[in-house]
Every structure is written in structure tokens, then in C-alpha cells.
């Protein structure tokens, strides 16, 4: 008897059918990977399984019994626990790791009203023992790395008897080493009989741990792949078409240098480095989280400062004090985490697709100050055409777009006006394979500017760039010339 049997599950949101007769089976002691483009129905399925949303129709059985949780607490009581992508919501600054681990227990009735530090430590240690890994119990939650937060969330989810663990993009913000540690923990849990539903876009992760891969498309399970997993077939099933290589031939750095850094230090104590980016070249900087990628890009864009060293843009001294100065000098940056750095909240003025594109260009497009003339509308229509943005029109709310299409809009914003240097910080965050392909083509189709991309995923860097640089401890440590295949081995590991 399978652990979980989902039979013909459907769910609609107004006129959108998010799940259409989705059917799948998960056994105890296996790691099932769930792949799917944005909007394929993954999150709806997870929300139904974790008790956040009810299904419209269909049947779920768990351990042979009908399972229809109405709240996440009911789901957890039945043995289904979920760890969501944004783990900073698991705890809060000011709470210790032990407090965070016991947070759900504090809110249960029947627990003692007064608590002592000793009993908290004892109970928290017991929870870690169940999960089988170590964490510093007295550390403040705010000081934990993303990887440790992930582990706190997992440990807490497993504190009570769990049969099925659902992980949503758990490695999104982890470095390679941290991911490896997570994988070995997950494998151990699997060997202990736990079933894991693992949602991810990263084929390298799935290769490493998945027992099986399920691919969702259009609200249904469109394909299942057993080991050895044929990922190119899985990805083709996922996007519904053949996957051509997005990558045209590598261009050698022939153009004039656009950006030059001399003896730059990102932090007062870090090693100095040089960097040159030429016209028509796409350079990717890759390295673990916290290695200094964003710091470097921010300094070039005037949102941060170099600790030492000089920057030159087209041979002239480049020392922007604000993003406005950098933009005026011809530098554009689509920063990391588009929701935080680029988009307006829903229902707010400026949250339409067209207004998202026009935000930095308002003064140029509307010199008289009044928003008449429809310039942003025309620019948005051009962008929709050029980048194949799927939206109901230029005035579509940005929140109605899928993650990949939102990212295309952010790119369109900075391509709407010519720039000398385009900086992209993690441009493929939460972007499905199909949209990633479009974005890469758009980035690479321009030869009139230089492009510098920061990404923590070497695979992405490899797909998009002519040249890959590696950053570590706030300094460029290796700058292999020529093809990205010359990368040092550890970056592929």
C-alpha cells in the first residue's frame, strides 16, 4: 500500500484551472522530486497537501485513510509537514534556535504556562535528536545562515511523528557545500522510512537525491521518470517543447573595455583584484552566497562603495555616489530578489507591467511631468513582443505574471533605454527553464553593451556567459580565460 495516493485532484481559481485531475503516488522511504514550470500547479498541489487550500474535487488517501486537511495543523497532525522556501519566516530575531524549535509547541494547549531555560534546551535537544543533526541551540535565529535556518525548519517539522516531508526549493539560497550537507541529511531521513516530496528547478539537486521525478504541466502530472533520470526528456515534458541550447557561440573579448576595476577591495581586509568587462561580452561572476557578488555589483551601481580601488567606465573615472549617478553614467542594474528590489506591491500605483518598465525612465519619457502620451504603454508592448512576455497586456498587474515573466519585465525595464553596462544580480531566481531560455537569448542578443551577471548557480553561469569569474571571500580568485569548461573542478562539484 502506498503512503500517499492522490487521485484525480482538481482545483480552480475563478476561471483558471490550477490542478486538473492530478494523480500521483508516493511510497514510504523515497524522495520524489516534483518539477514543473511556473504555473504548472506545483504550489497548488503543495498547498492542498499541506492544508492551506481545499481541493475542488478528487481524493487523497494517506496510509489508507482519506486525507483532507483543513488547516496546516491538521496536516501536521496527520503526518504531513511542509518546509517553505522563505525560511526567514520560520523564526525571528531575538529568538534563540532552541526557542525557534519549540515555537509551535509553545502555542499548543496543554503545555506548561511557565518555561525555564533548562527545559527549553532539553526539549529542543530532543527535537534535534529526532532529526539527527546538530545546531547551536543558544545562537540567535537572526545570526543563522540560510542553510541552518533551513535545518531549523526541517527539524521543527519533524519534531512530531511525520510520514511525508514536503520541501519547496530548499537549496534556493544555499551554497554547494551547504546543499551537500542537506542532501546527506535528507538521504538519512529517507533511509529511516520518511517520504520526501522535493520541489526544485535545479537538475543537479534532483540528480543527487531524487528516487523518482514527477513532472507537472498544465495542472496535471505529465510525466514520471525513474532512475537513471533522463533530465533533458523531463525538461522537455516540463516546458512542452524541444529544448535548444540557448547558448550561441562564445564570443571572445574583442570590443573596447567598458568597465575596469583596478586594485579593488570590497571589504577593507579582503584581497584586491582587477576586473575588465568589454563591449559585447557577457561575463558571469559565480560564488557561494555571501562571497561578495552583490556587494561588487552594488558598488558599480552606486548603491554601495568599494573599500579601496578605482573603477573606470569607458576609460573615465567611475565613482557613483547614488544609483541615479550610475544610471546617468550608463550603468543599469536589475538587483537580486525582484520583489524586494524592483516591483511594487499589488494594487499599488505603478504595479502594472508598463509602469514597472517605466519607473527609472519617467523623467526621460515624460519631461513635462504629466503622465500623458502613452509612451510607457508603447514601450511595454515592444517588450512583450521582444521577450515573449506572457501577460494579458501592457496594463496587466505585475503580480498576475508568473515568476519568469516578472523577471523578463525587470530585464525589459533596463533594456528600454540604452546602457553601456548592464548588471544582473541572480537574474534566474524563481524562473522556470522556458523563461530562462528566453532571458538568456535576450541578454546575449545585444552586442552594444557589456553585461555582468552574478549568480550562485554555476550551471546558470555556464549557460549564459562568455566568460566565468569566481568570487570567494570578497575577491575574484580565478579568472580562467576562454571557455567556461576550463573551470576549476570544485565549481562543478
Amino acid at each position: 500500500m502506498p503512503l500517499l495516493h492522490v487521485d484525480a485532484l482538481s482545483r480552480s481559481f475563478q476561471s483558471t484551472r490550477a490542478l486538473v485531475n492530478a494523480t500521483l503516488i508516493i511510497d514510504a522511504g523515497e524522495i520524489v522530486a516534483l518539477m514543473g514550470a511556473n504555473g504548472a500547479g506545483k504550489s497548488t498541489l503543495v498547498k492542498i497537501l499541506s492544508g492551506v487550500l481545499p481541493a475542488d474535487s478528487g481524493l487523497i488517501t494517506l496510509n489508507g485513510q482519506t486525507y483532507a486537511p483543513r488547516t496546516p495543523a491538521e496536516a501536521a497532525a496527520a503526518g504531513v509537514v511542509t518546509v517553505h522556501q522563505s525560511t526567514d519566516l520560520v523564526g525571528a530575531a531575538g529568538l534563540s534556535v532552541a526557542d525557534t524549535l519549540l515555537l509551535t509547541r509553545f502555542s499548543q494547549r496543554g503545555q506548561p504556562f511557565f518555561v525555564s531555560r533548562a527545559s527549553i534546551r532539553r526539549q529542543a535537544q530532543a527535537i534535534l535528536d529526532i532529526a539527527g543533526f546538530d545546531l547551536p541551540l543558544d545562537r540567535d535565529f537572526a545570526d543563522l545562515t540560510a542553510a541552518d535556518r533551513q535545518l531549523v525548519a526541517i527539524a521543527r517539522a519533524l519534531a512530531n511523528r511525520a510520514d511525508l516531508l514536503i520541501l519547496d526549493e530548499p537549496t534556493a539560497s544555499l551554497s554547494i557545500a551547504e546543499s551537500q550537507r542537506l542532501f546527506s541529511i535528507l538521504k538519512r531521513l529517507r533511509d529511516g522510512g520518511l517520504a520526501i516530496l522535493y520541489i526544485s528547478h535545479r537538475t543537479a539537486d534532483l540528480e543527487a537525491i531524487a528516487s523518482r521525478v514527477l513532472v507537472m504541466r498544465g495542472g496535471a502530472v505529465a510525466g514520471a521518470f525513474k532512475r537513471p533520470i533522463d533530465f533533458s526528456a523531463a525538461i522537455e515534458t516540463m516546458i512542452g517543447r524541444k529544448l535548444q541550447s540557448a547558448r550561441p557561440g562564445i564570443r571572445l573579448a574583442e570590443g573596447a573595455p567598458v568597465l575596469e576595476l583596478r586594485d579593488a577591495r570590497l571589504l577593507p581586509g579582503s584581497a584586491p583584484f582587477d576586473l575588465t568587462v568589454h563591449t559585447g561580452e557577457v561575463v558571469a561572476i559565480t560564488g557561494v552566497l555571501g562571497a561578495g557578488k552583490s556587494r561588487l555589483l552594488s558598488a558599480i551601481f552606486g548603491a554601495g562603495r568599494l573599500a579601496a580601488g578605482e573603477m573606470y567606465l569607458d576609460g573615465r573615472r567611475h565613482r557613483p555616489q547614488t544609483p541615479a549617478e550610475a544610471i546617468a553614467a550608463g550603468v543599469a542594474m536589475a538587483a537580486e530578489d525582484r520583489h524586494r528590489s524592483s516591483l511594487m506591491p499589488a494594487d499599488w500605483p505603478g504595479s502594472s507591467l508598463a509602469a514597472t518598465i517605466s519607473l527609472p525612465h519617467l523623467a526621460k519619457w515624460y519631461p513635462h511631468g504629466l503622465l500623458f502620451g502613452g509612451r510607457e504603454r508603447r514601450e511595454a508592448e515592444k517588450a512583450i513582443d521582444r521577450l515573449h512576455i506572457k501577460a494579458s497586456g501592457p496594463l496587466a498587474p505585475i503580480t498576475s505574471l508568473s515568476g519568469g515573466n516578472q523577471q523578463k519585465v525587470v530585464l525589459a525595464r533596463w533594456e528600454a533605454e540604452p546602457s553601456r553596462l548592464l548588471l544582473l544580480d541572480e537574474p534566474f531566481q524563481g524562473v522556470d527553464v522556458g523563461a530562462r531560455h528566453d532571458i538568456i537569448q535576450a541578454i546575449r542578443s545585444r552586442s552594444d553593451r557589456a553585461t555582468l551577471i552574478a549568480t550562485s548557480d554555476p550551471e546558470e553561469a555556464h549557460e549564459v556567459a562568455d566568460r566565468i569569474l569566481i568570487i570567494d571571500h570578497h575577491s575574484l580568485v580565478a579568472a580562467p580565460q576562454g571557455t567556461p569548461s576550463d573551470l576549476p573542478q570544485e565549481i562543478h562539484a
Binding site: 548603491a303 547614488t322 544609483p323 524592483s342 499589488a346 494594487d347 500605483p349 519607473l359 519617467l362
Partner: protein, 353 residues
């Protein structure tokens, strides 16, 4: 209203096709009802009050309603701009009150005329706005705390020049001399005259402020950037805009409008009363928040604020005509605010998820 109840009920498993169509239709109806709710209620109030008390509907009374809400609407428009940049100006009531004192002091003690007094008082309001902005933008004091302290400071400051006395002609100054000036008759026209004998000047001012700020916030790039600052300050800065300047602009506008409100009050009352402007802050904030519900916008908007102020004015005037006791007024305002916000946020959520 049935549609709204239907939406919040837990969906039961049902066949997808028919129910999807029905619920879309009901959702549309619900959205329409919500966005028009304030206007529908306003029309209902107007019809109801005129049936119950025919004197309610005459032009003079309607103008007196508008005149009564003019100051609140002007201040509310300023609050709306600070809400747009993600701030909050709690000092507007105190700025208006001290502007009343400043205008009176300027005319009665310094003997200035209208043309000197009005710019002086407006500049005073703008200056306070600038100080607020300095505290908030430069010193990074949270906006509520900065403007709350400014409110305290101003309510105290306005008492000092006259040693706590109200200002009227023949005021005896702290040094024993008698002030020689008087209110300029031209100044009093701002609060007491009517255009063509019908439209009070203060209502004209309210309309001008409403139109100017509506255009500024909704139809200009500055307005877009003001809202962008409130919506996502990081994104706005990374798009090359100076959020510090935008916030400063918002607080200066808010301070200046509060001073304008004070001028209208002074011109109506004709003396510098130490206790004037007591409920202005709460009324203006209420108008701005009721404004969130107008047209279902769920965000600060100037048009909504004006409609909100008028709505409360109509309600209070009608109830007064129907002999409702004065002490129920605050309760009525509070009930309208709670109801409006519950309608906007409580029922809006189920469709957006």
C-alpha cells in the same frame, strides 16, 4: 451582500464548470458593490435625510456641509500624500492649530495685512514640514514618533508668545502692552465670503487643493514616484530616484496644506483660539482612511479622501438635523471608519488570493 457571504464561505467540492462561472459573476458583482459602496451609501444618506427633513436638501445646507468639511478635506489631502510615501503625519492638527495662532498673532500683534499674513503662515507650515522631513529622512526617526513629537512641540509652542491666552483684538501682551492690530477684513473673507453668494471661498479652496493634488498624485511622474516610494522604497532608489527628496516633498506639502487649513479656520472664527483644531487630526486621518475604500482602491488616494470627508460631513449634518445629540458624533465617525475599513480589507482578501 449575499455575494460577499458566499465568497467567504468555505468552498465545498462541486463540479468545476458551472460553479466557476457563477462564482466569477458573483465576484464581479461583489467587486462592483465594494468599489461603489461609499457612493451608494452617500446617495442613500442624501435621499434618506432629504425625505426625513426636507430642509436638508436645500442648496444653502449642502454648501454649509461642504464648508464644514473643507478644512478636514484639505488636511486629509495632505495626510494622503504622506501615506503615499509610506509615512504618516500626526502633526497636521497641531500645525493647523498653531497656524491659527500664527495668523492671529501676525495681524493683531504685528499689524500685518492679508497679503503678508497668508504667505507667512503657509511658509510656517512648509517649514514645519521640512523639519519633520529632516527628522524622518536624515535622522531616521520613525515617522509616527517624529510627527507625534512635533505635535507636542507645536501645541506647546503656540501658547508661549501670548502666555497661554487666546488672541483677539486688544490682546494684552506678556510685557503689559496692548496689541494695536486687528483682523484684516480681507482675511476674514477667506472664511466667511461666498463666490456669487453661493459657493463659500473655503469650498473653492478645498476644490482647488483636491484638483491640484489629484493631478499631482495620479497623473504626474512625481506622483508616480511618491507612490513608488511608499510601495517599495528600495526599488525606487535603485531606479535612480531620490526617495529622500520625495519624502521631504510629501511632508512639506502636508505641512503647507495643514497651514492652509489653519488659515481657513482663523478666517472663519476671527480670533486665535488656543483650543482650536482639537479634532482636526483625527477627522483628517479618518477621511484619508475612509478614502481607501472609495472605488475599491485599498490605498491612499486624494479623491477618496475628499469623498470620505464629505461622507462624514453629510452623515453628521443629517443626524444633527434629525436631532441626534452632539455627543454621538465621534461614535458615528468611528463606526463609519470601522465599517469602511472592514468592508475594504475583510472582503477584498478572498478574491485576491
Amino acid at each position: 451582500m449575499t455575494s460577499i457571504i458566499d465568497e467567504t464561505a468555505p468552498p465545498v467540492p462541486r463540479s468545476a464548470n458551472t460553479s466557476a462561472a457563477t462564482s466569477t459573476w458573483l465576484a464581479d458583482l461583489g467587486t462592483t458593490l465594494r468599489s461603489g459602496a461609499v457612493f451608494i451609501l452617500l446617495a442613500a444618506l442624501l435621499i434618506g435625510f432629504s425625505t426625513a427633513e426636507p430642509a436638508f436638501a436645500n442648496l444653502g445646507n449642502l454648501m454649509s456641509i461642504l464648508q464644514a468639511v473643507a478644512v478636514v478635506a484639505i488636511l486629509g489631502a495632505g495626510v494622503t500624500v504622506t501615506l503615499a510615501v509610506g509615512g504618516f503625519d500626526l502633526s497636521i492638527g497641531a500645525i493647523a492649530a498653531s497656524s491659527v495662532m500664527a495668523a492671529s498673532y501676525a495681524m493683531i500683534v504685528w499689524g500685518l495685512d492679508t497679503y503678508a499674513t497668508v504667505p507667512l503662515v503657509l511658509a510656517f507650515g512648509a517649514l514645519i514640514g521640512l523639519v519633520n522631513a529632516f527628522l524622518i529622512v536624515r535622522l531616521k526617526v520613525p515617522d509616527l514618533l517624529a510627527t507625534l513629537s512635533m505635535m507636542f512641540l507645536l501645541s506647546g509652542l503656540q501658547l508661549i508668545p501670548t502666555a497661554g491666552r487666546s488672541i483677539s483684538a486688544g490682546l494684552i501682551l506678556p510685557n503689559g502692552t496692548t496689541a494695536s492690530g486687528a483682523y484684516d477684513p480681507a482675511f476674514l473673507l477667506i472664511g466667511r465670503a461666498s463666490l456669487f453668494g453661493i459657493v463659500p471661498v473655503s469650498v473653492v479652496l478645498m476644490a482647488l487643493v483636491a484638483i491640484a493634488l489629484f493631478v499631482l498624485t495620479e497623473r504626474t511622474r512625481i506622483g508616480r514616484l511618491l507612490f513608488a516610494t511608499g510601495g517599495n522604497e528600495i526599488a525606487t532608489r535603485l531606479a535612480g530616484a531620490s526617495t529622500a527628496r520625495l519624502k521631504t516633498l510629501a511632508y512639506v506639502i502636508s505641512g503647507t496644506l495643514a497651514a492652509l487649513g489653519g488659515i481657513v479656520v482663523a478666517a472663519r472664527v476671527g480670533r486665535g483660539d488656543v483650543s482650536s483644531g482639537g479634532s482636526l487630526l483625527m477627522d483628517a486621518v479618518a477621511a484619508a482612511l475612509i478614502g481607501f475604500t472609495v472605488l475599491g482602491k485599498r490605498r491612499p488616494n486624494v479623491l477618496g479622501t475628499i469623498v470620505g470627508a464629505v461622507f462624514v460631513g453629510v452623515l453628521l449634518n443629517g443626524l444633527t438635523m434629525l436631532n441626534a445629540p452632539y455627543y454621538t458624533q465621534d461614535f458615528v465617525k468611528g463606526a463609519v471608519l470601522v465599517g469602511a475599513l472592514a468592508l475594504t480589507y475583510g472582503t477584498g482578501r478572498s478574491t485576491s488570493s
